[in-house]
């Protein structure tokens, strides 16, 4: 039963801003099987990107992972870490949050890679695409030059400021080597960029959006990662290009057998690509399971609402169905201890005023939902009276309502 490459347990990530603490991700658990394509869907602001960044340890400054564990299962890595950090290892997997930063960062590119929504701003405009991909290759090449030492896989230890200063004068001191450049060209070819030799020497602004997203995929594949995290990889692209990029991802996944964590707004994309799905709402996974569990037999009223517009699994154009109501505030001091969806839920009941735990749901053993309807059936008798929450709502509601709808349709 140990085939999960990535297991997240009770992860909480908070942003400590001047105006209060934002609970971007709260008590989130999920399991991703090796070689699976795991989809995460949810409205804008539900915490999808923060979850992904938490895995990579890329959460920006006022933000911090405050609780939970992220288990990564890779025999070679586990063996390497066991000696130095015995308490991070359990049952053959490593809890990344127990590791020192440098060791964790050594996993970037080799264990986890990430591709981002907007390729144009995710490349450095003043370096050639080939150079930037070659950098990713080089990072891995240097890390593997000394596989025994975990220190060698940490960032920075093998390239000092002195080296960089020297490299501006002596080409031989450059970080990126000829071999890495050649490999970058191979990677560009692999993702279907014509004329890769010439293209490698071009700057990002000379690429089209679709091309650049391919290049970013090439960059992410440089370290042959176990898990590829794709944060809305097609949102910024034209519809026709979207399909091509998704085809490419599917193809690469088949070839390499890597695991993909696919974040998207688009249910059609989920239906087409994913084996498992997690639905996020207000920083929590409210329902998760296999594609069939979630799409054919949703338990959570939020999932049901999202799917409202999807006729069937083959529906390709399906987007998140906007649900009436406002996205809840994620400020810790404004969050009540109830089901966060209750104010928008058509089936809100008295027990929903107590925050629901995650329940096993019918269907496959993977199916779970944070909703009392997984255990009980809805009855009019327990329903909260109409307008129960609107009293308490603040006047800014109308404004946020449109924001929610916008987000849903993005």
């Amino acid at each position: 039963m140990h085939d999960e490459i990535l297991t997240i347990d009770n992860l909480s990530t908070k942003f400590f801003t001047e105006n209060g603490t934002v609970r971007a991700v709260n008590d989130l658990s999920l399991r991703v099987g090796r070689g699976d394509v795991f989809g995460i869907v949810g409205e804008s602001g539900s915490g999808k990107s923060v979850t992904a960044r938490s895995v990579m340890d890329l959460v920006d400054s006022p933000g911090r992972i405050t609780d939970g564990s992220i288990w990564y299962r890779n025999e070679e890595f586990t063996d390497r870490v066991r000696e130095d950090h015995p308490n991070a290892v359990e049952d053959g997997a490593v809890d990344l949050l127990e590791l020192p930063e440098s060791t964790r960062h050594g996993l970037r590119g080799s264990a986890f890679s990430m591709i981002f929504q907007d390729p144009a701003s995710s490349f450095n405009a003043s370096l050639t695409v080939g150079e930037q991909i070659a950098e990713a290759v080089e990072v891995q090449r240097r890390a593997h030059a000394n596989p025994r030492s975990t220190r060698a896989r940490t960032s920075g230890s093998n390239y000092s400021l002195k080296n960089y200063a020297l490299s501006t004068v002596f080409p031989s001191k450059r970080f990126v080597t000829r071999a890495s450049r050649d490999r970058a060209i191979e990677l560009l070819e692999m993702v279907g960029i014509p004329d890769p030799v010439q293209r490698a020497d071009e700057y990002p602004h000379e690429y089209s959006g679709g091309m650049l997203q391919r290049a970013m995929i090439a960059q992410a594949l440089a370290g042959e990662p176990d898990v590829l995290i794709a944060d809305e990889p097609t949102t910024a692209l034209d519809v026709t290009i979207q399909a091509q990029v998704l085809d490419l991802l599917a193809e690469l996944q088949e070839e390499t057998g890597m695991t993909i964590l696919l974040i998207t707004h688009n249910l059609g994309v989920v239906a087409r690509m994913c084996d498992r799905v997690g639905v996020m709402y207000a920083g929590e996974i409210v329902e998760r399971g296999t594609l069939e569990d979630v799409f054919d037999d949703p338990v959570h009223p939020y999932t049901q609402g999202l799917l409202g517009s999807i006729p069937d699994l083959e529906g390709r154009e399906g987007r998140l169905h906007p649900i009436a109501g406002n996205v809840p505030s994620l400020f810790e001091h404004e969050m009540e201890h109830r089901c966060h969806f209750a104010d928008r839920c058509p089936k809100a009941m008295e027990e929903c005023l107590e925050h629901p735990p995650e329940f096993d749901a019918r269907g496959s053993p993977h199916h779970a939902a944070r909703c009392y309807l997984a255990e009980t059936t809805y009855s009019e008798a327990k329903a909260l009276p109409e307008g129960y929450f609107s009293e308490a709502d603040d006047p800014a509601m109308e404004q946020t309502e449109t924001a929610a709808t916008d987000g849903g349709g993005e």
Binding site: F15, T17, N19, V22, A24
Partner: protein, 332 residues
Amino acid sequence: MIPERLKASLKREFHQSLLAKVGLGLLILILFLALFAPILATHDPTTSRYWDDQGNSYPPLGITYDTEIAQEGERVEYTVEPTTEHLLGTNNVGEDIYSKFLYGARTSLLVGFFGTGLAVLMGVPFGLIAGYYGGRVDDSMMRVADIMLAFPSLVLAVALIGVLGAATIPIPDPIVMAGFAEDMPEYMILPGSVTIVVALVTWVWFARVARGEAMAIRSEEYVKAARSMGASNRRILVTHVLPNSLTPVIVLATIQVAAIILLESSLSYLGFSGTTLSWGYEIQQGQAYLSTQWWIATIPGIGIVLAVIGINLLGDWLRDSLDPNIEGEHGG
């Protein structure tokens, strides 16, 4: 003149920033010293020969220095003691350093404010016209500006003063006129050449900023509308374009006051200011005595640094709170 939103932003930035408060405090202090110099001064700053009975200038309180004096044809060691009469001592020609410090603040601020004002008066209309009309006018005006910018301002300023001569303008001192300070000089000396010259070498910056604003505003709908309704160009410039370019001009002017104070001190250090009541001049005077009476050159420098820091801090504060392009705050 300043919209509410900007006022709020100024206030918030001020409350958050310790440095802004320090800057305002420093500027108020220097302004106070300069304004009330005749009252605060203990001696007429232009009176020399305040020496001890051996002909040595006094050190500041708490400091002594050794020198040699001639006694009965022989040179003997002699220690000069400070006197409470001259708090910061006296300089090489025996002028009271403390009183000169106060009057130096006056000169610096006079040149700083008048010079900046003059530069604004020259640069802003120039830039507005160039930016508003565009085309040929703009091209040729900006060529002139390019030549000005192409030049090290200190070199140009020195060359100009070399030609103009270091003329000064005496301004009656209102405090002395009103009888509050009997023994003080009746006139304040505004180094006229220096003021004109610093304006001549800095106006281009104002022209550039005003031009950029005018170009941006020219294409705004309401300006187009005003023009289509037959408003004259002059009217549009004065009622629409000018008020809108005020914010960046104010920010720039603040920074320029600091730059001009530095430039003035350099010019007077080089001996081109035409008045001896200047921090830069005093530093030059003290340079030869660095090894024995280091305070002569040191004290005025502290004045320059404090004044310029204060104004720079205010400039930073204005820039951070008025300029929407700089460091916007984006919440999650």
